[in-house]
């Protein structure tokens, strides 16, 4: 990891949403940094804050949400940057692909227009040039006959094709960072693979950094350099991908991996389910938010939030008071 400033450097990001029943802290101090061309997998269950994190970076958090901390992108803090200047980053230097291609495309606007409009705005292209670029982008993401189909409406495409369109949309200005927020969750597995492969290849071609947000550990397992696991608005463990699967330390990561059915799971075997349910973010107690569901809870877990610490080197971090020692135990 180079010591020069990373492409994206998020520090202590907090997001508080006021609700009638009190404030909800959906992000409680998230630190993420990402180098150019790197891929970060962001994994967590629903409500863990992973989507809110992605949206905070894109400036599309809910209207009344309060953001604190820093989101440094290429040396500029997006949170303090004037809106106008920030808009030159969003859509131009950071692109985003949303979860549901059925809803993230405007049903009444031709797809060519939806793909090209960011380029028209940010790159100062004419309507004609933007259309040309949209066609090129559609071709890039594998839409057949893009010169014809750029005049189509979203409903004329299948789910997979629509997601290709949204990827083209996010790539319109050749961004430095692509955020894919559950970009393949709504798709069938065969389509999911195609889309993920497509994104990966484009990313490699363009030296683009990427944040791959997913609830599915399988999705991130072979497509990311690093994986960060989120729980209750925090990153609880972060490490290079292979190490996370083989040498995870956080008890939540461990439990999550055990709970997932695999192809090598014996028939009718008992899965190691995580009991209980995710915590209520409006009423978090001190200490580790996973402690109430954790099978390895010790006193220290409830006394204070365990700090982030490194496992062996600077690449692997976790926040657990009673970490698993899978590797050490094996060796």
């Amino acid at each position: 990891m180079s010591e020069s400033s990373p492409l994206l450097d998020v520090r202590g990001l907090r997001c508080v949403i006021p609700t009638p029943r009190g404030e909800v802290q959906v992000l409680s101090g998230v630190d993420v940094s990402l180098e150019k061309g790197q891929t970060l997998g962001l994994v967590g269950e629903s409500g863990s804050g992973k989507s809110m994190f992605a949206r905070s970076i894109m400036g599309i958090s809910p209207p009344h949400a309060r953001l604190e901390g820093e989101i440094n992108f290429a040396g500029q803090d997006l949170l303090t940057l004037p809106k106008k200047a920030a808009r030159r980053v969003w859509g131009k230097r950071i692109g985003m692909v949303f979860q549901d291609p059925m809803t993230s495309l405007n049903p009444v606007v031709r797809i060519g227009r939806q793909v090209g409009e960011a380029a028209e705005k940010h790159l100062g292209l004419s309507r004609q040039q933007a259309r040309k670029r949209a066609i090129d982008l559609l071709e890039l993401v594998g839409i057949p006959e893009p010169a014809k189909r750029h005049r189509s409406y979203p409903h004329e495409f299948s789910g997979g094709m629509r997601q290709r369109v949204t990827i083209a949309m996010a790539l319109a200005c050749e961004p430095d960072l692509l955020i894919a927020d559950e970009a393949t969750t709504a798709l069938d597995v065969t389509v999911q693979r195609q889309i993920l492969d497509l994104v990966k290849s484009i990313q490699t071609d363009r030296q683009m950094a990427m944040i791959l947000v997913s609830h599915d550990l399988g999705v991130v397992s072979d497509r990311c350099d690093d994986v960060a696991v989120m729980y209750a608005g925090r990153i609880v463990e972060k490490s290079p991908t292979d190490r996370l699967f083989s040498d995870h330390r956080h008890r939540y990561t461990e439990a999550l991996l055990q709970a997932i059915p695999r192809f090598d799971t014996p028939k009718h075997s008992h899965l190691a389910a995580i009991e209980g349910k995710p915590p209520n973010l409006a009423a978090l107690s001190t200490g580790c938010p996973f402690a109430p569901r954790c099978a390895h809870e010790i006193d220290a877990c409830t006394e204070a939030m365990p700090p982030m610490r490194s496992a062996e080197d600077e690449l692997h971090w976790f926040a657990c008071a009673n970490p698993s020692r899978s590797k050490e135990l094996l060796s």
């Binding site: 405007n106 049903p107 409406y153 996010a170």
Partner: protein
């Protein structure tokens, strides 16, 4: 062409409705209180005179005979003569129709334009003072019936400010400026109520649309708010509004009866009021049918327009 054919097809479906409406108007003579002949002849009417009128206009014949006669006449464009003026009904109506169409259309356009502008601004400033104020204003305007609005508007703009005439009408052929000078207050009167309805429905739909992922996607592209509102949020929010517009044509036509009478505007509504009070059956019959056709036509057009606004709706 597709659109025209679709409208024609819709009208075909509505033929039975029109037949029913015409049938009902034929029954009017039996349903309306009073005897048209006596009404037209006045107090000194003698039974002989009454009989003569009844025979001349066929009021004494059974209703199915009247209906068939009327229907065949109507199909050839002959709606009979007015009881009061003896003029052909068609001439009476065609002289008045453009006025009502202008009044209705202008009110509709004004209401739609205002509602769209205000709703867009309020939706951008969701939860702001402006938004809350507009919500209150819209409710208020919806609860003010046209005849009350008319009195208030006349008081402010004609009596206090003196910007507009109290009542009256100037035909378009005498110049657009004069025409608008007279039409302004009636149009605003009619538009006020509709603006409220339109605003509320559009503001609500915009609120929903703005929560859609594709709006987030548009914002994530770094597009400006105005651009997003106009290009991405407005059109998908128009569907309920369009349905409302179709319905509001009916309300406007109904409202025009009051507003035209109040402002002395010689439109179809005024003609209808006069005809009802003078029991001018032929005119009532033709006016009602015409209004029904007009209404049906507008609503069919709205249905067809859905396909223009929403590409997902396919014309069949």
């Amino acid at each position: 062409m597709v659109i025209l054919r679709a409208v024609a097809e819709k009208l075909l479906y509505l033929l039975p409705v029109l037949l029913l409406v015409t049938l009902a108007t034929t029954l009017l003579i039996d349903l309306l209180p009073g005897d048209p002949a006596v009404t037209v002849l006045g107090l000194g009417a003698t039974p002989e005179q009454v009989e003569r009128i009844n025979t001349e206009y066929g009021f004494d014949r059974p209703f199915y005979e009247r209906y068939v006669t009327w229907l065949f006449g109507a199909l050839t464009g002959d709606f009979g003569n007015s009881l009061v003026t003896s003029r052909p009904v068609l001439a009476e109506i065609t002289a008045r129709l453009p006025v009502t169409i202008q009044l209705t259309a202008m009110s509709l356009v004004l209401a739609v334009v205002f509602a769209i502008i205000l709703a867009l601004v309020a939706a951008v400033k969701e939860g702001s003072k402006f938004d809350r104020m507009m919500a209150a204003l819209a409710s208020a305007s919806m609860s003010v019936p046209p005849f009350v609005a008319a009195v208030v508007l006349v008081f402010i703009f004609a009596l206090v400010l003196g910007w507009s005439p109290v009542a009256g009408y100037s035909p378009l052929r005498d110049g657009l400026g004069r025409n608008l000078y007279y039409m302004a207050l009636p149009v605003i009167t009619m538009a006020m109520l509709e603006t409220g309805f339109f605003y509320r429905i559009l503001r609500g739909d915009l609120g929903t649309t703005l929560r859609e992922d594709y709006i987030l996607a548009a914002r994530s592209k770094g597009l400006g708010t105005g651009y997003i509102m106009l290009r991405h949020a407005l059109r998908p929010s128009l569907f309920s509004l369009m349905a409302m517009v179709g319905l509001s044509v009916g309300r406007l036509l109904g409202g025009s009866v009051i507003v035209e009478y109040f402002f002395s505007i010689p439109g179809l509504g005024q003609l209808l009021v006069n005809s009802v009070t003078t029991l001018d059956i032929p005119v009532i019959q033709a006016s009602v049918v015409l209004i029904a056709i007009f209404y049906v036509l507008i609503n069919s057009t709205v249905d067809v327009l859905y396909s223009v606004v929403d590409p997902r709706v396919k014309l069949r």
